[in-house]
Every structure is written in structure tokens, then in C-alpha cells.
């Protein structure tokens, strides 16, 4: 550990890496966050990148960012404002100048601040002056020149040399936070195991960056963010998509069912399909379908055949799957549909986050077609809710939509690894050979689910289909039968509530204002509420929903304990209107944001104070 007067101890810090989409900022950010997690910090990350793989160089639209929040104290969000910004070019300043904390540190590649690049970014003169950042702690390093110098004897082509620039920047950041290079070295060694010269070059540049920091030490302070006090256990860093995939695997193991995933690649959900395609060792059958419809239809086929069946997608894909989802509702087959939400409508903002598919999930089908809808709220609890989606689907014989979003999918945080022994068993209502006669839509009295008779089971041959039918599976157009079936399918979904835990309010159990959220906004809302509690001016509670249909049974009771109800969500008011429909006795206020970005903590706090008029 560094022993210097110039070391500032901090509870938490936010670092944002920002550059062209080809500058390797996502990798740099990932390496820094993994290093910090291994060091023992609590972390939260937020990759923010354009949809184009190589967007126009040097322009604001082409900027790819990766934000990491590291803490000695508990961290729930990637942070509103960056304490340290790595800006590889002028456009990176332009894109972020309002997102840097007053007086923060900005590391720039001086060599990239040419007249041409300055103009491209939309400046007329020096960006630092133009954006009034002179008082900030600017570390202007001639990164390109220094990288060329460091690698001059390596005999590499100029393009390869320039590709290591991100390692120089990373080296400076490691120096700034007094971090070890060990993890990064082993990562690079693994990644380029077949190209020793690339390993050497990257390490050379990383060290050069670190040493550059040492040489300027006298001029600039460095930071210490000590390890967080976290619960005992084994941890790993995980993003929402991987955690979703693993939750499904855990459910399959607990249900003793083979896992089948039928999906079509779509941003930002593809990571789940990729992860499961790699899990042949756990017997996963992954089917990359010809389109979204075939994705869900193969999954429905697999469900009919008795497997834990999943299809993954994002908003536009869910729209395409709607008709088939109705078939799963009608045939009462278990099915998990995962929608990693992104900005819409239409193609919208493929790489940006939003919560605007709630209404689609609840109602986006023809006819009376209720499904269970649940939502994950942190990258790591995607595991829990993917498991839960599978459990509900299989035990209740019903399709379940799990909503996550781009922010959860790509964001990472440390996760205390659970043990499979601690997870509940899942019990599919299989029709077993030797049972009495099988009647396809005969129901359990309590849950109203039907039995699952799997093709291959002797004596239970039966037909199901999309037409309305009687409990025997016989097609029926009898008016009363249809109404009865519509009601009982809805009641079956409603009875899932018997297994839904009560809503637990964070903070005050009653008082001035209840902040209400759902899904991926959890971290920001929680942080805001904690800060309001610390301020001590108003009595605030926080109710965050993971179960949307059905809602927890104590919901109305919780609402009745507060003078004001504020629903915060990243859409124009879909959940708040759903609540208004279900609880007409309450008056809900709302805060909405539809920018493809998460809330900031400050936005939530301001709104709370504004409506209680403090």
C-alpha cells in the first residue's frame, strides 16, 4: 500500500471510461471492475454503448462508455456522476462533460485533441476551456506518443500498436487507485494465449501507463477505496444475462428437467442464448431458431415434450411471439419467456435501457390471455427471478414472462454464490404412468393447474390445441364453456399469489411518502431513499415490486400507510396506470424518464422533496 500524504481515503468513487467504440473501453472498464471486485470493493457497472459496432470515429454518437462505481460502503448503482473520467478523444468530453463531478479528475489522450477531432466533436477551440473544466484535475498524457515509444522495438504494425492505447489509460487508472495488475495480466495471458507478442505488448503498455502515473505523482492526488465489509462467503462478479441463464440452469436441476432454449439473437438478450448454448456440459439443448416466432414455438414444442422450455428476447421479439404465447396460455403449458427490455417502439434504442414493455407483457396478446409477469431488479437477482419464473411456470402450468432490461443485462455486481442445496425444490405436476385416466384439463383444486402428461407416457395419449375446448380437450364452441374456461385460466394465474411473498417496505413502514418502483430501477431508487432517510427531513418508505401479475396480496395495505405514493419508472407511466386500474382508492403520483438511461439518484430525491414541498 502506498504511503503518501497525497492519498485521499474515499468511501466510494465513480470511474467512467469513454472513447470511440473501437477504443476498447468496454474491456478496459470490465478489467478495472473485476480487479476492484477481487480487491474486495463492492461494485456496480454500467456499460453504455451505441448500437453500431464501429460507429463514426471521433463523433459524440460513436462514444462508447463504461461506468464503474467502487465502494468501501455498499453500492447499489453505477453512480450518477463520475469522479474520474477517461476521455480518449474530444468527443468523449463532449458526451460526458455534464456527467463529471465538480472538480473531478479527467484523463485525456492529448495526442487525440487535434484540430480535426475537436471540430468533429462539435467544439471550436480547446474542449477543456470551452466546457469550463479548467479547475478540474486534468491529466493530459500524450498517450499515443508514449505507446508508440513503449512498443518501438516490438516490430508490430502501427494499427496493432494503437490498439493497446486503452491499456495505457487503464495503467494510469490502476496507479490512481493503487491497484495490482495481477488480474489484468492473467486475463491478457489467457485471451491472447496463442500470441505471446501481443501479451508482451499489452503488458508493456499497461506498465508504461502505471509508471507514467508514478512520474506525475507529485502533481496529483491518488485515491484509496478500501475493501467493503461484506457478508462472508464466496463471491464472483456477474452480469444480468449470465445470472439469468444460470438461474434457469439451477431451476432445471431442481426440477429434474432437461433445459431447452429456443431463441433468436436480439440485443440486449443474446447473452442468455450464448451462455446457455455453451452449457452443453449441463445437458442444455439450445436451438437458434430462424426467427422469433420459431424461437417460442420450438420452446412450446419442447414444453409439450416435457422439458423446461425457455425463449429469450427483447421488446420487438416479444411482439412477434405474441400469438404463440397465446397458444401456451390456451394449452396451459409451462413456458418461460424472458424479455430483456430496451428502448422502443419499433427498433427504438437497441442498446439502451427502458421499462416500456410492461403493458406488452401484461396485455399484448389477442383475447383474454393472462400470464404471470415478474421482474428482476439487480444483475445478480436475475438468477433468483429466472429460477422463480421457471418454478412458477412448471408448478402452475402457466407461461411466465420475466422482465429484465438492458441495464441489468449488461451491468455487473459482486454476487455471493449460493449453494444449490439452499434452493427450493421444484415439483412439476407430471402425470405418472399408473395414475387413473388422464383428463387433459382436469385441475388441481387449490392451484387450478392441470397435469402434465408427457408424450411417451403410456395410456395418456391426448390432444391439445389453440381452439377452445372442454376439460376433456374436446373442441367446444359452447358459450358458457368458453366463459368458464376464460375465467378459470385467469383464476389460475391469480392463484399464483399464494406462493408470492408479501411486499416488505424498506425504511419507514408508514409516513409521508412511499417510493414505488419495479424491475431494474431498484438500485437507484434504494440509494435515493437511503439518502432521504439520512437527511432526516421526511418519513420515507420504499416498495419495490418483483411480482407484477399477480401483485403481492398485501399491496393495498402497504399503500394505505403513506400520505403520498410516488411511482418511479423508465417509461411514460405503465406501472402507475396498472396500479391505478387495480387500486382505484389511491392517488398515485409519478416520475418518469424515457431517455434510454437509468434514473439518477438526484432526480428521484428532487422529485420526492418537491412533492412533499420541502
Amino acid at each position: 500500500m502506498r504511503n503518501s500524504d497525497n492519498v485521499i481515503e474515499r468511501e466510494e468513487m465513480v470511474i467512467r471510461f469513454s472513447g470511440d467504440s473501437g477504443d476498447g473501453m468496454q474491456l478496459t472498464g470490465t478489467l478495472f471492475s473485476n480487479t476492484s471486485a477481487l480487491f474486495g470493493n463492492d461494485i456496480s457497472t454500467f456499460p453504455d454503448y451505441p448500437a453500431e459496432i464501429r460507429a463514426p470515429q471521433g463523433t459524440v454518437g460513436g462514444i462508447s462508455g463504461f461506468q464503474v462505481h467502487v465502494g468501501h460502503s455498499e453500492i447499489f448503482t453505477p453512480g450518477d456522476l463520475a469522479d474520474v473520467l477517461v476521455a480518449m478523444n474530444p468527443a468523449a468530453i463532449k458526451a460526458n462533460s455534464k456527467l463529471i463531478r465538480q472538480g473531478g479528475t479527467i484523463i485525456i489522450d492529448e495526442d487525440n485533441f487535434t484540430e480535426k477531432n475537436i471540430t468533429k466533436a462539435g467544439y471550436t477551440s480547446d474542449p477543456v476551456k470551452e466546457d469550463k473544466l479548467e479547475d478540474y484535475n486534468i491529466i493530459a498524457a500524450p498517450i499515443s506518443t508514449l505507446v508508440k515509444e513503449a512498443l518501438k522495438d516490438f516490430g508490430l504494425d502501427p494499427k496493432t500498436v494503437m490498439r493497446t492505447k486503452n491499456m495505457f489509460a487503464l495503467g494510469i487508472v490502476y496507479w490512481l487507485f493503487d491497484r495490482e495488475l495481477k488480474y489484468t495480466r492473467s486475463f491478457i495471458e489467457k485471451k491472447f494465449s496463442l500470441r505471446p507478442e501481443i501479451i508482451r505488448a499489452n503488458m508493456e503498455v499497461l506498465n508504461a501507463g502505471y509508471n507514467y502515473g508514478e512520474t506525475i505523482e507529485a502533481l496529483t492526488p491518488t485515491y484509496r477505496v478500501s475493501p467493503a465489509k461484506i457478508d462472508k462467503g464466496t463471491y464472483r462478479n456477474i452480469n444480468g444475462n449470465t445470472s439469468t441463464a444460470w438461474g434457469l440452469l439451477a431451476a432445471a436441476e431442481k426440477a429434474n428437467l432437461e433445459l431447452f432454449i429456443g431463441s433468436y439473437p436480439i440485443t440486449p438478450a443474446t447473452g442468455i442464448l450464448e451462455e446457455l448454448a455453451a452449457r452443453k456440459d449441463l445437458g442444455v439443448k439450445s436451438f437458434q431458431a430462424e426467427d422469433e416466432i420459431a424461437g417460442i414455438c420450438t420452446a412450446i414444442g419442447a414444453s409439450f415434450a416435457g422439458r423446461l422450455a425457455v425463449t429469450t428476447t427483447s421488446g420487438p421479439g416479444l411482439a412477434l411471439k405474441a400469438e404463440a404465447l397465446g397458444l401456451a396460455v390456451m394449452t396451459e403449458l409451462p413456458l418461460v419467456v424472458i424479455n430483456v427490455q430496451r428502448g422502443g417502439p419499433s427498433t427504438g434504442l437497441p442498446t439502451k435501457t427502458e421499462q416500456s414493455d410492461l403493458m406488452q407483457a401484461l396485455y399484448g396478446r389477442n383475447g383474454e390471455s393472462p400470464v404471470v409477469v415478474i421482474a428482476a431488479s439487480t444483475p445478480s437477482n436475475c438468477f433468483k427471478f429466472a429460477f422463480e419464473a421457471a418454478r412458477i411456470a412448471v408448478e402452475h402450468m402457466v407461461p411466465v414472462i420475466l422482465l429484465t432490461d438492458g441495464f441489468l443485462a449488461n451491468g455487473t455486481e459482486p454476487w455471493r454464490i449460493p449453494s444449490m442445496a439452499d434452493l427450493p425444490d421444484i415439483n412439476p405436476p407430471l402425470a405418472i404412468e399408473g395414475d387413473t385416466d388422464y383428463i387433459p384439463y382436469k385441475r388441481d383444486e387449490k392451484l387450478l393447474n392441470r397435469k402434465w402428461a408427457i408424450p411417451g407416457t403410456r395410456g395418456f395419449e391426448h390432444r391439445i390445441g389453440g381452439l377452445e375446448k372442454t376439460i376433456n380437450g374436446t373442441v367446444s364452441y359452447v358459450p358458457e364453456n368458453h366463459e368458464y374456461m376464460v375465467k378459470i385460466r385467469a383464476e389460475k394465474v391469480a392463484r399464483v399469489v399464494t406462493k408470492v411473498p408479501d411486499m416488505k417496505v424498506y425504511g419507514a413502514g408508514e409516513g409521508d411518502i412511499l417510493v414505488i418502483g419495479w424491475g431494474g430501477t431498484y438500485g437507484h431508487l434504494l440509494t435515493a431513499v437511503r439518502e432521504i432517510i439520512d437527511d432526516g427531513l421526511i418519513e420515507v418508505g420504499f416498495a419495490h415490486f418483483n411480482y407484477i401479475n399477480p401483485l403481492p396480496s398485501n399491496t393495498a395495505k402497504v399503500f394505505s400507510c403513506f400520505k403520498m405514493l410516488l411511482v418511479a419508472e423508465l417509461n411514460s407511466g405503465q406501472f402507475v396506470n396498472y396500479l391505478r386500474m387495480n387500486f382505484q382508492e389511491f392517488n398515485f403520483q409519478q416520475i418518469n424518464k424515457v431517455q434510454g438511461l437509468p434514473f439518477t439518484v438526484a432526480e428521484i430525491k428532487d422529485k420526492c422533496y418537491k412533492i412533499v414541498e420541502i
Partner: protein, 338 residues
């Protein structure tokens, strides 16, 4: 033929549902041929899964006492793919029509065929939409007058056989609804073939497109206007077996077995040839210039998708250190907090 004792007789496959196709519809004969084939295949009843889409033909699963799934329009191929990949032990059949498989379900159809998933696709081709009461389909002959083409269609129809070959298909056969003996044989061949088998059944819709196949299916002309292809046999046809097919340059030609042309000058059918050139020409033959080809036109053996999936899983399972989810959760970079 020696009658052997089978697990189930054809009538064991009759379900308790009343068959609701129009009296005289070709579908009735297809149902009875398939029941015969299932009985002859001698597979336990519970191992069959019949998946259909939407249309007259797609009501089929209700009428047969196996596991069955009457799904949604066009998607039967995708659902059947899921069933088969999930459980390769099942004998999976897709029942579909020209609209269901080749219009709304065209994408799923070609991809199922391309992947070579071991399902038997029975395509009832009546060249019309029956259930919606008489609109043209993707196989309707150009110029056909229907409710949605009052001045005749202006679209080029698909030839299902050509489409199968274009989609890298390995098995294509054609039969006539009314020819129960030939149909039964073909369904059995399709079931025994490993990989996607497509059987085009020329089916008569007595209500909306009556007689569309009459020119070749009428008893009086049938033998002169169709040719039944059999593996290893000369391509010979006609009531008196007096006609055959030869190659004239790169094209097929009908010849009379007379004036020095004999059986041994005729082409010999080889369904197992991988090169699809001849199969395409045979599948595309149209009356009046040619006899319409019936029988198994193409049957090439190739690895199936469902077996490849299982094979890959077995292989990776052997070599991977991850044996259960606990192993996975603890793999890679982890750290201890004390």
C-alpha cells in the same frame, strides 16, 4: 403379404372425436392410410406425436389417438422441431397444408428441412385455402380463379419438391390421397427415413377446388399420366407399361417402348443419389407433357439435427469439468470474503 401381429391395428388409432371433414374430402383417405402405416410401423402408440398448424388438414391430430397438438397457423414445423429435438425417441409427424406450410409457415418449413430434423412432414396439397372458404394458395396454378383472384392469379406457384431440394432436403415423396396402398408404403418409408421427410399428398378439396388433380388421379387415366418411381427400377409407366423416361441431352423425355427402345434403355431410379439434379427434374414433371412422379423421389441419408444435438451434448459432457450447477457457479474468477 404375410400378416404379422402388430402392437396396434389401424383402428386402434381412431380417436373418440367425430371426424368433421366434408364428406368426400381427400383427407379421409389420408387419415386411413396413415393409420395403416402407423400400425405397420409397429411402434407403441404413446411414442407418436402429431403436430399440426391451421387449416382443414390440421384438424388431423384430433382424429388420431396418439399424442397430438393442433397449434397455430404456419408454426407446426417449428413446434414439431422443438418436440423432436427435446425428445428424439418420439416419432414426430407434422400435418400441414399448402397454405400452412408454404405461405405463412414457409420460413419454418425450409429451415426444418435444411436442419434435417427427423420429422415426417405430410403436406396436404389441394392448391387452395379450404378452411377460409376458397382463396388461392402458394401452389395454385397461375391463372386460377378464386375468391381472391377473380381475374385469375398472377403468381407463380411453388413446386413443393423443388422447394425441398432448394432447402437442402434429403427426402421427398409424392402420393395421391386416393391411392391408399401407395400412400401407406410412402408414409412408412418417410417414417423410417432418418431426417426430415416431406411427403406431398395431392389431395382433393371437393368443395372449393374439386377435381384439381383429376387429370392425373382419374382411374381411367391414372396409369398413363403418373409414374410410380421405385428404387433401382426402370422409370416405366402406362396402363400397358409401354412408356418410359430417358435423358435427351440434359432434359427428360418420354419414350414409347417400341421401335428398338426397350426397358433397358430407360433411366433407373436412384432416390439415394446425393446430387439433386435428376430428383428436381422428376419432381417438376407436369401433365400433359410428362407423367406426374409419385413414390419416393429423393431419400438421401445424412446426419440428423436431433442426433447431432445429442451427440454434441454427450461429447462436451465427457470432457467438461462442470458436472452440475454448483460446479458452474464456482467456476472462473471467484474470491472469498472472510
Amino acid at each position: 403379404m404375410v400378416e404379422i401381429e402388430t402392437l396396434h391395428s389401424p383402428k386402434d388409432f381412431k380417436s373418440d372425436q367425430e371426424v368433421r371433414w366434408c364428406p368426400g374430402c381427400g383427407d379421409h383417405a389420408i387419415l386411413s392410410s396413415i393409420m395403416r402405416a402407423l400400425s405397420a410401423l409397429n411402434i407403441p402408440k404413446e411414442k407418436f406425436a402429431f403436430i399440426s398448424g391451421i387449416g382443414c388438414s390440421s384438424r388431423f391430430p384430433y382424429y388420431i389417438d396418439t399424442y397430438g397438438f393442433h397449434s397455430i397457423h404456419g408454426r407446426a414445423a417449428a413446434i414439431a422441431s422443438g418436440v423432436k429435438v427435446a425428445n428424439p425417441d418420439l416419432s414426430v409427424w407434422e400435418i400441414t397444408g399448402d397454405g400452412d406450410a408454404l405461405a405463412i409457415g414457409g420460413n419454418h418449413f425450409i429451415h426444418a428441412v435444411r436442419r434435417n430434423i427427423d420429422i415426417n412432414i405430410i403436406l396436404f396439397n389441394n392448391e387452395i385455402y379450404g378452411l377460409t372458404k376458397g382463396q388461392y394458395s402458394p401452389t395454385s396454378a397461375k391463372g386460377l380463379v378464386t375468391k381472391t383472384s377473380p381475374y385469375g392469379t398472377i403468381e407463380e406457384p411453388f413446386q413443393p419438391g423443388e422447394l425441398v431440394v432448394g432447402a437442402k432436403g434429403k427426402f421427398f415423396a409424392r402420393t395421391l390421397d386416393s391411392n391408399i396402398k401407395l400412400s401407406t408404403e410412402i408414409y412408412m418409408e418417410a417414417a423410417r427415413h432418418d431426417g426430415t421427410s416431406v411427403v406431398e399428398v395431392l389431395q382433393n378439396c371437393i368443395i372449393f377446388n374439386d377435381g384439381i388433380h383429376a387429370a392425373i388421379s382419374d382411374k381411367a387415366h391414372r396409369d398413363d399420366r403418373t409414374i410410380i418411381l421405385r428404387q433401382g427400377e426402370p422409370m416405366m409407366f402406362g396402363k400397358n407399361s409401354d412408356k418410359g423416361l430417358v435423358l435427351d441431352g440434359l432434359k427428360l423425355k418420354v419414350v414409347k417402348l417400341a421401335n428398338g427402345i426397350s426397358e433397358k434403355d430407360l433411366l433407373v431410379h436412384d432416390a439415394e443419389e446425393n446430387n439433386p439434379g435428376m430428383h428436381t427434374m422428376l419432381a417438376n414433371m407436369r401433365y400433359p407433357g410428362f407423367p406426374v412422379a409419385l413414390g419416393v423421389i429423393r431419400a438421401v441419408s445424412a446426419p440428423t439435427y436431433d442426433m447431432a444435438v445429442s451427440g454434441q451434448i454427450a461429447k462436451v459432457k465427457k470432457s467438461s469439468e462442470i458436472k452440475c450447477v454448483d460446479d458452474l457457479l464456482r467456476s472462473g474468477s471467484t474470491w472469498e470474503a472472510k
